[in-house]
């Protein structure tokens, strides 16, 4: 393929990738009662409807709460696992890596089904948030692990040895030497875990308890029966929120987030 | 066999010339080395000869034909890359066949040529191996075979020994040189290792800052360096300073005759190689300048001494370890007048 032709081709693919997202954003400013295109006029009408819709607002609060809890738990477990993987795993290294990435490699729907059966079988059920949070932690753990272990790969173990030779104990070595150096990976991983948890659908859908709908679930239910641009307004707010997290972390905090 | 001629060849990436109007003639079957520190333009020059870089200005002629606008694949070159660039998904045989297939050589002939070239690089029996199953030295020889099997007009080598360990590197120098002699192919060899350039080449081209600093046989370059930079780049050297007076330069080693019309009173720099200096015991009664041994470094076949002359100047000397001198011992140093080589006036 010649250069200009290839460039044009790539632009078409990028347009294809962005089209459905752009369409949702544009539709959210529609002033009409239905999803017509191009919109009959532009207004924030559907945003007002959305902000006054207690069902959606509660779903956002639920999503944010679960994402925050997930981020903290996944952050701690994932960072510890990455530390083990990089400096102590020895011959188990490959096994640990595959196990840590398993939730990412296994089909989400199957994991959700498995967890649903399991929490019932052991009598936990879905009366509490427990099942859902476990599911979210599982699904975000690989991203946490990838980010932290990537930032540790550039960590030279001789720095820890140097600190040890200078008299630093295990905890001091972690706090004064390792943590400052791997902090970008930890923060990046946490932010990404937050986004993933905020957007995840299938796990939440199968493991949700009564009255615990997250935003994606509420949106999905709404879309099965309604076609007003309110859903577009909800979606746009969700997109803006996740994009804001990414832009802030990558541009403002200067973090490099590893997605794979 | 092909004669290569380069005229005012220039490459400018936009921040001043990387290669600055160099001209060079390479005779048929000649082995020439481009020697210089990294960033001197030697690799860029090689890439322009190969066709991987477009020349900003100037001409490259193979047997009188300008090839500047000929694409790489039509230039009929054989190239050996620093990291060998063996195709990892092809066996040795498939790697060797690749260039022949591009030339639409019939299958039976390809097999014949491959058998011959594998013999030549002493790798018969390795045809079915994949590159990852070969040692560094074997990969190197496959790369060489792949470049030669197409019987190219010229052979280009880009630091091919840089990734080998020291012992293997010395073996390969001899191997490549012998092979090149046998095939008789015009060869351009890029390296930053002066020993490599000296042992292998018919002629060495020393490059600094995109220009040719000196061009000549290895002994020309070593014994009669064109300037201080060349002298220091090619091996170790003592720089001896002295004032000119009546066709002689008065140095710490005594008076040394110079030719070349230097005005009386100018301060000259002279190059003196460490192995050109003789060390003698003080009681030997021979002619020489007294000096004190500061330190010595024994390396088996040779000993390097660091000495302080009576005047306070230091000098490095390399000798055979037949007679050893202890640190702090007084000795006599003697350097034959003909071993001093003028490098020009001291700035």
């Amino acid at each position: 393929m010649s250069k200009p032709f290839l460039t044009l081709y790539c632009l078409i693919i990028y347009a294809f990738l962005l089209a459905p997202i752009a369409v949702v954003v544009i539709a959210s400013f529609n002033s009409g009662a239905f999803l017509t295109f191009p919109p009959q006029g532009y207004s924030f009408r559907w945003y007002v409807v959305f902000f006054n819709n207690e069902v959606f607002m509660r779903a956002i609060r639920t999503s944010l709460g679960i994402a925050a809890i997930t981020m903290v738990i996944s952050g701690i477990i994932g960072t510890m696992a990455a530390m083990f993987y990089v400096s102590h795993a020895g011959r188990l290294k490959e096994t640990v890596r595959i196990a840590m990435l398993a939730p990412l490699l296994l089909p989400e729907v199957l994991t959700a089904i498995a967890l649903l059966f399991f929490v019932y079988s052991v009598g936990i059920g879905t009366q509490t948030m427990f099942g859902m949070v476990v599911g979210h932690v599982l699904i975000t753990l690989p991203f946490m692990f990838i980010n932290v272990s990537a930032s540790m790969e550039s960590y030279d173990p001789s720095w820890s040895m140097a600190a040890q030779s200078l008299g630093a104990g295990r905890f001091t070595r972690f706090r004064r030497i390792m943590l400052p150096l791997i902090k970008p990976g930890v923060i990046g991983g946490c932010l990404f875990a937050f986004i993933i948890s905020f957007d995840v659908f299938t796990i939440s859908f199968l493991l949700k308890g009564v009255g615990m709908s997250t935003l994606p679930i509420q949106l999905f239910d709404y879309l099965r029966t309604n076609f007003t641009p309110e859903a577009a307004a909800v979606s746009t707010c969700s997109i803006v929120l996740t994009m804001a997290v990414v832009v802030i972390s990558e541009k403002v905090l200067g973090l490099r987030i590893h997605r794979f | 066999m092909t004669e290569v001629s380069i005229e005012k060849l220039t490459k400018d990436y936009g921040q001043g010339p990387a290669v600055n109007a160099i001209s060079l003639k390479i005779a048929e079957g000649e082995f020439i080395s481009l020697l210089g520190p990294s960033g001197c333009g030697k690799t860029t020059t090689l890439k322009m000869i190969a066709g991987f870089e477009d020349a900003t200005a100037g001409a490259i002629r193979f047997d009188g034909r300008d090839v500047v606008h000929v694409p790489v694949e039509k230039r009929d070159i054989g190239m050996v890359f620093q990291n060998y660039a063996l195709f990892p998904h092809m066996t040795v045989e498939q790697n060797l066949a690749f260039g022949l297939e591009m030339r639409k050589i019939p299958k039976p002939q390809i097999r014949e040529k491959i058998a011959k070239v594998l013999d030549m690089v002493q790798l018969a029996g390795y045809a079915e191996r994949y590159p990852r199953q070969l040692s560094g030295g074997q990969q190197q020889r496959v790369a060489l075979a792949r470049a030669l099997v197409i019987e190219p007009k010229i052979l280009l080598l880009d630091e091919p020994l840089a990734n080998l360990d020291a012992k293997l590197r010395e073996e390969m120098r001899v191997f490549i040189r012998d092979l090149q002699r046998r095939v008789g192919i015009t060869t351009v060899y890029v390296t930053h290792d002066q020993a490599e350039a000296m042992t292998m080449s018919d002629r060495v081209v020393v490059m600094f800052g995109g220009r040719i600093a000196q061009m000549g046989t290895p002994s020309d370059i070593y014994e009669r360096p064109a300037n201080l930079e060349v002298a220091e780049f090619v091996g170790q050297v003592n720089i001896v300073r002295g004032k000119v007076g009546g066709g002689m330069v008065s140095t710490a080693f005594g008076d040394v005759p110079v030719t070349g019309g230097h005005a009386d009173g100018t301060e000259l720099m002279l190059a003196l190689r460490p192995e050109a200096v003789e060390l003698l015991p003080v009681n030997s009664g021979a002619a020489g300048v007294p000096a004190k041994v500061l330190s010595s470094y024994y390396s088996g076949s040779l000993v390097d001494y660091r000495l302080e002359l009576a005047g306070g100047a230091t000098v490095n000397v390399q000798t055979f370890p037949r007679t050893r001198f202890a640190d702090g011992e007084q000795v006599l140093v003697h350097a034959p007048a003909e071993r001093f080589w003028p490098l020009g006036s001291a700035a």
Binding site: F84, S121, F201, L223 | F81, P88
Partner: protein, 286 residues
């Protein structure tokens, strides 16, 4: 790097313990539990009843409806994978080898859809593909078509949306495979007389095979198990296996039968992936 292996007692093991417990108890055990569940007796008003049976599998194989659904799901998976490969490869190449200014932007454009929830992206496609959607309205306003094209509530719509959702998962592994190819290999091919196109075909393309293999497996598995996109785009008319399974669990509480179906889909998918892996085995790789 891994110079100091397990030393000084149990200290380091405490680091991995929480993750090990989480994955062992909440991932490995639940997956094994699915197998057990598929042999349980169907319940009346409860998800399952005491006792074990092969009946769930019997029911699955007795009804060609389910077999056909697996076949359809596989077919959608194949097409999605193939389209992702063909559409994504040039983009991956451009991202790996194109000029750098364009590259950073392109990379961001490929990754950004991954940051938007799957429900929202599928919703975007319903706006585009519906009978009253943008594409149909635009085409009919230009007079190109009389009635709406059937773009939604069929396999075509599902495939379009799935290709969109999974394209980044094809592009990224191929991109990193191409980036991992030493550029001097192409130069070597050129020096041996190959044109740019031949160098690509004989060197770059085969060497990017591992990336294509990984991307294909990833996209295929993801599209077999996709739930949101097929259920929103396919509606009630076209159902993939994953949708049928989830509906059986959520709407009708047939857990044992749902498990049997999920396992049959998984086994078929795994067999396809293994065959694919065998067919694309690369002898030259370590």
């Amino acid at each position: 790097m891994n110079a100091a292996p397990a030393k000084k007692g149990l200290g380091p093991l405490l680091l991995i313990a929480p993750a090990a417990v989480l994955i062992g108890v909440f991932l490995v055990l639940p997956y094994l539990n699915i197998v057990v569940m598929s042999f349980r007796m169907p319940g009346q008003g409860t998800p399952y009843a005491p006792g074990f049976t092969f009946g769930n599998y019997g029911k699955f194989f007795a009804d060609s409806f389910y077999i056909m659904q697996v076949v359809n799901t596989l077919w959608i998976g194949f097409l999605t994978t193939f389209l992702c490969l063909v559409l994504g490869y040039p983009v991956a190449w451009q991202l790996a080898r194109g000029n750098s200014a364009f590259r950073a932007l392109g990379y961001a454009l490929v990754l950004s859809p991954l940051l938007v929830g799957i429900v929202i992206r599928s919703y975007g496609w319903t706006i585009l593909l519906g009978n009253n959607g943008i594409i149909n309205r635009t085409l009919s306003s230009w007079g190109v078509i009389d009635g709406p094209l059937p773009l939604m509530y069929n396999a075509l719509g599902i495939i379009i949306a799935l290709v969109h959702v999974f394209l980044p998962f094809m592009i990224l592994p191929i991109m990193s495979a191409i980036q991992g190819i030493d550029p001097s290999l192409e130069l070597a091919a050129r020096s041996l007389g190959a044109s740019k196109l031949t160098a690509f075909r004989r060197i770059t393309l085969p060497l990017s095979l591992p990336g294509m293999q990984a991307g294909c497996i990833l996209v295929f598995v993801l599209s077999l198990s996709a739930y949101v996109t097929p259920s929103l785009i396919g509606g009630l008319r076209v159902k993939t296996m994953a949708v049928t399974v989830v509906d059986a669990l959520i709407d009708t509480f047939q857990w044992p039968f749902g498990s049997a179906m999920a396992l049959m889909l998984s086994v078929t998918g795994a067999v396809v992936v293994i065959i694919f892996g065998r067919l694309t085995v690369m002898k030259w790789k370590a």
